[in-house]
């Protein structure tokens, strides 16, 4: 079953000069699929991810999720959809600098407001533990190393057990050991929890272990 379907998506940046960043992108991704997206720098991978994550709504073409078109949906609707169903790890792993690692991980769950505070805290700790971060849980985010921050961001993307996890080079800052842990974790989530995982990567080893690799070039899917 397709969980995400895009139909001839085009994205044109108008400022500073007109730039056609995505050209007729059509793709379908199945539930529980682990997909990697590769391509040269500047080919439009991040641009595509922002559209898939529902944050960027300024495009032409159709984006469907759970067999429902998201074109024209209100920003409140999309915000809730993101909160509940999409976990996103940014290319430049952003955390709330003034909050602790644990608090960062808890925020999406607190917003979703489906569980008790204590439960959320416990689950957030579990996610951090999964990524080997239990001992830095109470450190402020801006005191963490780049790799630690990236893993906290991954833990945060997982907290609501979203149907879709989108990562823009989620292992870009990790050593090979931690990178392997993260990829293994993603594989398990896809296999055992039927979570769909889409990651952009420059690591040549990662596409070998994902279910499918989408290659992009100059705004198109090859």
């Amino acid at each position: 079953m397709h969980i995400i379907t895009t139909t001839s998506i085009n994205k044109i940046f108008r400022k500073p000069t007109e730039f056609h960043a995505l050209k007729d992108v059509s793709l379908s991704i199945d539930e529980g699929e682990f997909v990697s997206i590769v391509g040269k720098s500047g080919c439009g991978k991040s641009t595509l991810l922002y559209i898939l994550s529902t944050m960027d709504t300024d495009f032409t073409g159709d984006l469907q999720m759970f067999n429902e078109s998201l074109v024209g949906k209100s920003s409140a609707y999309l915000a809730h959809l993101r909160n509940k169903n999409i976990g996103f790890v940014f290319q430049f792993h952003y955390l709330l600098a003034e909050f602790s690692a644990l608090e960062n991980v808890m925020v999406p769950a607190l917003k979703l407001n489906e569980k008790h505070y204590e439960t959320i805290k416990k689950e957030a700790m579990e996610k951090l533990d999964l990524l080997g971060l239990a001992d830095i849980a109470h450190k402020r985010a801006n005191n963490l190393s780049g790799g630690q921050q990236q893993r906290v961001a991954i833990a945060r993307a997982l907290i609501n057990n979203p149907a879709i996890i989108i990562g823009d080079e989620p292992t870009g800052n990790l050593d090979s050991e931690n990178s392997a842990i993260v990829i293994q974790l993603f594989k398990t989530l896809a296999k055992e929890q039927q979570q769909t995982i889409i990651i952009v990567t420059h690591d040549i080893d990662i596409p070998k272990v994902t279910d499918r690799t989408i290659t992009m070039s100059d705004g198109r899917i090859l």
Partner: protein, 420 residues
């Protein structure tokens, strides 16, 4: 809307992790409110204190007879219907008694009116007080001690002697404290008085009082109605003024209006017209106060606006992340609005407390004034309404100052920022 728990944990973290900005904003509001409280308690307080004193010292309704110029002289009246032009130059006022017509009847009538605290007939005359070489111009007023006690609590104004002495023996008077001082007399001394009708006699000082109003304390003497009537060589129905007060002052203007129709030969004045004079001078001072306060609040409002705008600019990344995670534009707006309101709340409360303390301190500093009214401390007013309005101003200012930046924050497009 996001759950309050998340909202407050974000707000708390924001406020505590930028302590300097939080303190600056809070201090700004605090200063504004402090100044507001002080200005209002001081200037408006002064005005109200002044009005209250004037009001307490004046009756709610006053009956009196004016020396009036007849509009038409007898000559003019005689030739009224002819074509001839008649002028009467320098017409003298009709020599009329300043007594209120049928005063005893009027007094009896007024005493039966419900909700009247007391009716006090008065007999007033200009007088010369003579003591040795000093010749002082003043007033002597015959009063009903018991009625005046009900109207003006004259016993509380007593400095020396007693008002009862005015009743017990004839030719006994009470003098204003400044007047007595100028003549260097005290209770028991005798003063020579000269009346306009030529009567010259000695009277004994039975009491010295301090009304608190310079004009009265400088010139006024009191005696019993009978004493003054006798000095003026008038009979017992000679009454120049009737003072009265109502339980509820608001009744006075209404009743006064009715009475003007009934007692059409008598002037009837109510406190609203007396107060109108005072209030017109108060208005200017109040306006200046309002201007200063509005300026202060605007300045602290702009302070908050600037700091909030700066904070939002610095937190662009946070806003983008929160939006990406699933917070809505409204959630973001709420975060920054609540932050501004907390600053406003904190600043206002601190402002109220420090404003109160400063007012309290100033009200304890001795400060002697003897112009118009006599005071020995600045009459700082402590009225709940000043504090309630100060608090409201603080909150409203910060709400407005926080609203626009927070609205802008809610409009930030997260993708633009996350793209880097």
């Amino acid at each position: 809307m996001m759950p309050p728990r998340l909202l407050f944990s974000i707000v708390k973290t924001h406020l505590l992790s930028r302590k300097k900005q939080t303190i600056t904003s809070t201090a700004g509001v605090m200063l504004g409110i402090l100044m507001y409280i002080f200005m209002v308690s001081f200037i408006v307080g002064l005005n109200e204190y002044f009005s209250d004193i004037m009001l307490a010292a004046s009756p709610h309704v006053r009956f009196y007879t004016d020396v009036q110029q007849d509009s038409l002289s007898i000559t003019e009246r005689f030739y009224k219907d002819t074509t001839q032009q008649v002028f009467v130059h320098h017409q003298k006022p009709k020599s009329a008694d300043r007594t209120i017509k049928k005063a005893p009847d009027v007094i009896n009538y007024l005493k039966k009116v419900p909700n009247v605290i007391a009716v006090s007939p008065r007999v007033s005359t200009p007088i010369y007080y003579t003591m040795g070489q000093s010749n002082l111009n003043g007033m002597l007023t015959g009063i009903d001690i018991n009625a005046e006690q009900l109207l003006f609590q004259i016993n509380t104004k007593l400095v020396d002697g007693s008002f009862e002495s005015l009743l017990n023996s004839e030719n006994t008077i009470a003098l204003g404290v400044s007047l007595a001082k100028k003549m260097q007399v005290s209770v028991g001394d005798r003063v020579l008085v000269t009346l306009p009708n030529g009567v010259v006699t000695y009277v004994q000082v039975g009491a010295v009082f301090k009304w608190g109003m310079t004009a009265i304390d400088n010139t006024q003497g009191f005696a019993s109605v009978q004493t003054v009537q006798k000095l003026m060589q008038k009979n017992a129905s000679f009454i120049t003024d009737i003072y009265l007060k109502f339980v509820n002052p608001d009744e006075a203007p209404i009743k006064a209006e009715e009475w003007r129709a009934v007692f059409d030969e008598t002037q009837i004045e109510d406190w609203k017209s007396t107060l109108a004079e005072i209030e017109s001078t108060n208005k200017l001072r109040n306006m200046i106060t309002v201007l200063v306060v509005v300026t202060l609040l605007t300045v602290s409002g702009f302070g908050i606006y600037n700091i909030q705008t700066m904070m939002i600019f610095e937190r662009m990344k946070d806003i983008a992340i929160l939006r990406a995670i699933g917070l809505q534009g409204n959630d973001i707006r709420l975060i920054f609005l609540i932050e501004a309101l907390i600053i406003g709340l904190l600043g206002s409360i601190l402002g109220l407390i420090s404003g109160f303390l400063i007012c309290y301190a100033v009200s304890k500093i001795p400060y002697h004034v003897d112009v118009v009214i006599t005071i020995d401390h600045l009459p700082i007013q402590f009225k709940t309404i000043y504090y309630v309005s100060g608090f409201m101003f603080g909150i409203i200012t910060t709400a407005i100052a926080g609203y626009f930046p927070s609205k802008r924050a809610s409009k930030i497009d997260p993708v633009e920022i996350i793209r880097g």
